[in-house]
Amino acid sequence: MTTLFLVSCAQDSPVNRATKEKILLMGNTAEPRGLDPHIVSGVLENNIIRGLFEGLVIEHPSKDGVALPGVAESWGPTDPKNPTEWIFNLRKDAKWSDGTPLTAEDFLFSFQRILTPALGSEYSFMLYYIIGAEDFHKGKTKDFSTVKVSAPDPHTLKVNLRSPIPFLPEITKHYTWFPVPKHIILKHGKAEDRFNPWTKPKNIQSNGAFTLKSWKLNDHIEIQKNPVYWDTKNVALNGIRFLPISNSFTEDRMFYNEQLHITYTIAPDLIEYSRKNFKDMTRNEFYFGTYFIRCNVKKSPLQDVKIREALSITINQQDIIDYVTMGNQSPAAGIVPPFVGYNSPGDIKFDPDKAKRLLEDAGYPNGEGFPKINFLTTDRESSKRLAEALQAMWKKYLGIEISIQQMEWTSYLNTMMSKEYDLAAGGWIGDYMDPLTFLDMWIKDGGNNRTNWSSEEFEELLGEAERTAGQKERYGILEKAEKLFLDERPILPIYWYTRNYLIHNHVKGWDPLILDNHPYKFLDLVAD
């Protein structure tokens, strides 16, 4: 034991050793639910899956909204003025890691699999843009030929959409659109069997820059460079080791102690310490998501839009960011976070004087007679702090009492889904770079709506946007839809997300991306 101890003391740090070997050490917050792109639905799974698999196009390493060739060498709509039919020309040297050619047939198989009802995929709706996909997935037909995807030849994929979508390549970056190996899946069981063991390390084959090397439950998942990947000569990393570190304090300490190259996050209480002591390794980057409070618009007195607006504009968003979350987030003026090309119509500002007037107009001057309403949130300490801050603000500026109801995660979700709340903390992260991903959740009886709010005019605007091909015109319509939504205020926006994390100086090629979908093939590890 003494010898072991002395030898261990003399060794190089884990980060230095890993850099020499070009193995990236990444914190990944928790054990993934799986590696099957058709079964999982989370961000942490995405982090691993996009190393193993490659879609039709891939993310640019430093520019948001730009697509680079993936399995497809080129692509485009048949008619640019009406992009309802898209052609993807697949590269002829695309292969699975066992050398089997990857063709358009693999994509057809993959789309059929994820849309097969029996598989129970949670994210199939990402393919509903395709004609016939939704009906097939909901079991209205068992005939997959009604879903308009086809392979005119082994290296051409044709997709017909139910409406013009100029941003289809952005959607295909999502792992629900990735190919899965038909020959491997069928070798180990049925396509629609979600217990098919095809993703076990000894079985899995992938088409991305890396393949699965090892998977030890709750310990690590390691992927290694794929020698048959079409662009392998340009892949600098030899591998990536994902560590499911759920305790953010432990993760940060591991980073400080040279055990990790990149953390998943920074514990809020350690953000200041990290900025002070690891200034050039602390990143604070915009993330495509919004934190907001849902209002149950059928519960009195929240059915009155004046009350909702009053609650909204008495939230001092900057104070919340500075003293509660401390993550340098941006105050949310609307629901859709800003990005290039879209002019957010939101103009929510802290205005307690106006709020008092609104409350008085609603029949509750200085909060007199206002019923006590509950605020539902999760059992996390950070959620409690934020809830208490809001409670204090509403008491101070409006004179109203809010009771805080904390619940553990699943109970919180169930209560919110069954709409047994008055106000509820919530948030949303965009699946792709388009305002629709933040707006289409508010349709009537939409599963993610949960507010009882709906508007025919709002849905008409969404429908009009769906029929509009030109991006500029389309964004203009969606801006109107967002304005209407914010005027009605069924949700109270608080802040737009940021990602706070630590990244070692050895990591090269990692640039801020709004969706945080960093393509690993462009990364390198170089010691100082």
């Binding site: 989370g42 009802p117 598989l119 949670e122 709750n218 889904m417 993610n448």
Partner: protein
């Protein structure tokens, strides 16, 4: 075990929510129905109650995790070794620290050594593992390169989590051992041994220890099972891929198969460890051996 199975089965079955409602993004009723069918959760609870042991007996199956999409046995087999190593190491620390402190305190009753020992024990009981763990990380792991902040794989990785897990048990053992040793040291036969001129060391080790350790042995059995079943807190602080976190995560995610499987596994472990403790106690004290009536 049947009683345990029945209780845990229905408690888990009556939990609010289902395994498919822990995802913030809503899933459609059709998808939820298909998922329930895939796991047999669309069946009435009483049917599931009968199907579960049938599958266990005929196929050796504890079901498939709704969260991890892998067999529960797979999860237990992969996580049990880490829990076993951590548990055994923590037990060594607990026994290695707690029992000597208890013996020394008992033999130096009402002296500074006794008060000091029991004060250390009290501190050990009062300070929770989520304080001890980070303190060890910030003091030892951050300063001594041989220790990692977290991780599992190198032999030295066992030390800090074992200390964190074992110290609480060491504290209890110290107090328990002191109490039982004091009782034994007041017995007539000990007085006789002393009167015969035997040295204190011989009196304690050869005559008193056997009887004095009985309550500690009875405690160690179930304590060992508890140590093996792991501490969720120690596992998350030190990134130990043990079983404790599966238990807690399964409850949070409403994963009925992992919950039931892990509880039954723990139950069996406790039965085995209690039996082992009884057998050791019987070997130490012939008076409590099973007698024919």
């Amino acid at each position: 075990m049947l009683a345990l199975y029945t209780i845990v089965f229905f408690l888990v079955g009556w939990m609010p929510g289902d395994p498919f409602s822990s995802n913030e993004k809503n899933i459609s009723p059709e998808v939820r129905e298909n998922m329930k069918k895939a796991w047999g959760l669309d069946q009435p609870l009483w049917k599931q109650y009968l199907i579960y042991p049938k599958n266990l007996i005929t196929e050796g199956s504890l079901g498939v995790s709704t969260e991890k999409n892998r067999p529960v046995w797979d999860i237990i087999i992969q996580s049990f070794p880490a829990s076993l190593i951590l548990g055994i190491s923590a037990l060594f620390i607990a026994v290695g620290i707690g029992v000597p402190i208890g013996i020394i305190s008992a033999t130096r009753k009402n002296t500074a050594i006794d008060y000091g020992g029991m004060a250390i024990a009290m501190i050990g009981i009062c300070i929770p593992s989520f304080i001890i763990g980070p303190v060890l990380q910030l003091t030892l792991a951050a300063k001594i390169p041989a220790f990692k902040i977290a991780g599992w794989g190198h032999p030295l990785d066992v030390i800090l989590p074992s200390i964190t897990l074992g110290l609480g048990t060491a504290a209890y053992l110290a107090r328990l051992t002191r109490g039982s040793m004091l009782e034994v040291l007041n017995q007539d036969y000990i007085r006789t041994a002393k009167a015969k001129g035997l040295k204190t060391f011989s009196v304690v080790i050869k005559h008193a220890l056997r009887g004095g350790l009985l309550p500690s042995v009875a405690f160690i059995g179930p304590a060992f099972a508890a140590l093996i079943s792991g501490s969720f807190i120690v596992e998350t602080i030190f990134q130990v891929p043990g079983m404790g976190q599966h238990f807690v995560n399964a409850a949070i995610k409403r994963d009925p198969f992992v919950l039931r499987g892990v509880v039954l596994f723990y139950g069996l472990l406790i039965v085995i460890m209690n039996l082992a403790a009884d057998l050791i106690a019987a070997s130490l004290n012939p008076r409590i051996r099973l007698e024919k009536t």
